[in-house]
């Protein structure tokens, strides 16, 4: 069974982002970019499946500008076998990404697709569910644990704790934080990754309309909270909470 994983290039989670002065978005020039952390978890899970003999090949998918190739290389250095890059300089919203992925799934016929539960830039938490819908496949979102057999047993992180579901294969999985701890790529593997193939496609060639459905009218700074005061003693804290804030 082939496994397809999605890897999105996002602003690194350690970067303190800045909103552009013209309110059209956030500053991305000269900002450190990385693979979306949830996608590192997706790649790790797929590689482990291959190591256990449950997967035959791991394909890393990314959609976006030319630099997405770097993100795919990272996945290849972790252990993915090859990459598929859909080159696009347009703003790709989740529905468009899901349609592009569907086109690649139709071509590659993987038995499982693993994507991150959310990208930490746009925080949409949609792409995996949308892809499952377009394919008519089952979906195992917010996965904490996966077990592949006849189907796939998924332990999901839900509001009240954990939930166990059994899905028919093929399926789409979205990763949550506790699914695994992604490995770091070793230097020899980084070198090897340079020789692994990355196929480049375009939305036009795949016949997918990626026009955005949501128009971003403006992007603004959130209201900021002012730092308050430091109190010296617990007695002072309790007094303030009672009499000043009135919350206890």
């Amino acid at each position: 069974m082939k496994v397809l994983v999605a890897v999105k290039r996002v602003i690194d989670y350690n970067v303190k982002i800045r909103v552009k002065a013209d309110k059209t978005g956030v500053e991305t020039a000269n900002v450190k970019m990385s693979m979306n952390p949830f996608d590192e978890i997706a790649v790790e899970e797929a590689i482990r499946m291959k190591e256990k003999g449950k997967a035959t090949e791991v394909i890393a998918f990314s959609a976006g500008p030319a630099q997405c190739q770097e993100t795919i290389r990272t996945a290849l250095a972790m252990g993915a076998d090859r990459g598929v890059h859909v080159l696009s300089d347009a703003e790709l919203q989740p529905l468009a990404v899901a349609k592009l992925m569907k086109a690649v799934v139709d071509k590659e016929q993987p038995g499982l697709v693993i994507v991150g539960k959310q990208a930490i830039d746009d925080d949409s938490n949609q792409t995996g569910q949308m892809l499952a819908a377009l394919l008519g496949w089952s979906q195992g979102t917010f996965a904490n644990k996966l077990e592949i057999g006849e189907g796939v047993a998924v332990k999901r992180e839900v509001d009240g704790g954990l939930e166990n579901v059994m899905l028919k294969l093929p399926a789409v999985i979205t990763t949550d934080l506790r699914l695994n701890e992604p490995r770091y790529a070793s230097l020899p593997n980084i070198m090897k990754a340079k020789k692994k193939p990355i196929e480049q496609l375009t939305s036009e060639a795949l016949g997918v309309d990626v026009a955005p459905r949501l128009k971003t009218l403006k992007v603004e700074e959130p209201p900021t909270r002012k730092a308050g005061i430091k109190v010296k003693t617990v007695a002072e804290l309790v007094e303030k909470l009672k009499n000043e804030a009135g919350v206890i």
């Binding site: 949409s124 499952a132 899905l167 949501l214 730092a227 303030k240």
Partner: protein, 311 residues
């Protein structure tokens, strides 16, 4: 056009955040209908009918909906969708699982976690862990929107909407529910608690969280945690507050041994009053705290617990 609010429920009661979603739907305008899909969900439907502002409850009974598998419920929502201009649901784990599937089947975008309704087609939503606010306009005919419950004051009770039985759409046979491991707690639910006590890596062990439980119980508070505390196994995953966990906005949030990473702040910085207890006076959490106390939590927390007891 009417608005369809999809209600998450356990058969007997609808989730508290359904009243927040109804409030958001009321701001959009038009008749508000609530869908209660389930198996033996009569009580939940009655509860939904009592939410102020609801014009009608659609109760869909089908064994397929007993455990709310997204594959099956999405098919039902899609069947109902043509009658509505908007489909709205609270952005909890049930909504996040279901609504993108509905949107894709309708070939429309989804607006995730709206915090403000600007107009029927325009919404404000946080991006980058709440470090930027995007105003987005939907060009789709049907708008599929999840709303962040803490940003919409819950609609009151006292309504008496009619309940219409609509029948189900059966099962797609793609997925089966096996069971759940739900954390049992007498404490108020994290996202609706008036006070939240949260612990981080500074607690150093799961055993030490007992100390926070005692404090939480004195205050009648819910208990939360940072990702680091969950990853370390001190507490279960459903305690996590933050960008990729739960968003809370209580009257009082007490952060104990939490540094205040942006991913954590994203889940709690809308709290009315924030207290931080941390031994590092440079910890970023102090930049959002109304009241900070620098010191060893193992000394301060027992003191605080005792002081509240005396009250």
């Amino acid at each position: 056009m009417s608005v369809l609010v999809v209600a998450a429920h356990d058969g007997k009661t609808v989730r508290a955040n359904v009243a927040n979603a109804v409030a958001a739907a009321t701001q959009i305008g038009g008749d508000v209908h609530v869908l209660v899909a389930g198996s033996g969900a009569g009580d939940a439907a009655k509860e939904a009918a009592a939410i102020a502002g609801v014009a009608k409850v659609l109760q869909a009974e089908d064994a397929a909906y007993a455990n709310w598998m997204a594959e099956d419920v999405a098919a039902l929502v899609v069947k109902l969708a043509p009658g509505y201009g908007h489909i709205v649901m609270a952005a909890d784990n049930v909504g996040k699982n279901l609504m993108p599937r509905v949107a894709a089947l309708l070939d429309v975008a989804q607006v995730s976690e709206a915090i403000q309704i600007v107009s029927p087609d325009t919404f404000v939503r946080p991006i980058y862990a709440g470090n930027a606010m995007a105003t987005v306009q939907s060009t789709d005919k049907i708008k599929v929107v999840t709303v962040r419950p803490t940003n919409f004051k819950a609609a009151a009770g006292g309504g008496s909407a009619a309940i219409e039985q609509i029948g189900g759409a059966g099962s797609a046979g793609l997925s089966n529910y096996v069971g759940a491991e739900i954390s049992k707690s007498e404490r108020p639910e994290l996202t609706s608690a008036k006070i939240v006590v949260s612990g981080g890596r500074g607690l150093a062990s799961g055993e030490n969280f007992k100390m926070l439980e005692t404090l939480a119980d004195k205050l009648g508070a819910g208990l939360g945690a940072s990702r680091a505390a969950v990853d370390a196994g001190y507490v279960p995953n459903d305690y996590q507050v933050g960008q990729t966990g739960k968003v809370v906005a209580p009257d009082l949030y007490i952060a104990i041994g939490i540094s205040g990473a942006i991913q954590h702040l994203a889940g709690m910085k809308d709290s009315k009053t924030i207290v931080a207890i941390n031994k590092d006076e440079e910890a970023p959490i102090f930049q959002v705290a109304d009241y900070g106390i620098v010191g060893d939590l193992f000394q301060i927390v027992p003191e605080l617990t005792a002081a509240i007891e005396k009250k």
